[in-house]
Amino acid sequence: MTNSAEQLSALSILLSSLLLLVGLFFFIAGSIGMLRFPDSFSRLHAVTKADSLGLGSIVAGLMFYGDLWQNLLLLLIWLLVMASGSVSCQLLARFAKTQQDKA
């Protein structure tokens, strides 16, 4: 890992840091949205969308450092997290809706 990091050009280090920062921005925005939004459904919006893109951006930023298989694994993790995020968002929203209708 250290070897490949030393071999990286300045441009790719810059790009990777930029992508990591963008990912961080979306995570922070999602967290702030979760605190600010009025009801649980709106909070789900913030968490699902911002975090899946934030993780994607961080994964893209990390891809400059890994070899082929590690990058593939990172991509796989991102896809799984995104899919499970959107599915669990829907399940949570449905659960909250049924609770709301009951009350």
Binding site: G30, F41, S42, H45, T48, K49, A50, L53, A83, Q90
Partner: protein, 170 residues
Amino acid sequence: MAMPTQGAVFIRYAALGAAFSLCWAALTGGRGWWFFLPLCLLLLLWCYWDKLSLPPVRFKAVPGFLLFFCRQLVLGAWDVAWRALAPGKKWAPQWQRYDVSMTQPASQRLLASMVSLLPGTCAVNIETGQPDVLLLHVLDGDADWRSGVAALEQQLVKLLCNEQRQGSTL
């Protein structure tokens, strides 16, 4: 419902096996294939027994779909990040209904899951009826969310071959 031919079944399971071996290679860095072979056999047996398979897709439509999806993902995240960070209330949550034209339950579930990543919408439920209705929570009722969902549905219809046929298991 037409039974798929032997060749189609073989291709489908071969593709599944290829996907599994890709995952294994990513996990292990391309080692340990002697252990993977029996494991892959077990996995294919499981998929056969649980009637799981890859959804048949039109390969021509894949790049366009991926492009569309990534664009919508970025737009959706940016939309919600902007609303979260901008001063003042930038939201007007509403419940909305959307008539789904896709007929397959599996495709409808896929649509509902993907809608949650689109700008401003979050799927809550699929109510079966004539036609099926997707119950959505919309972050800003005044924004134009309907065209986004319609575009996604159109892309999905283009992508999935079995929108008219049966046998999809997703």
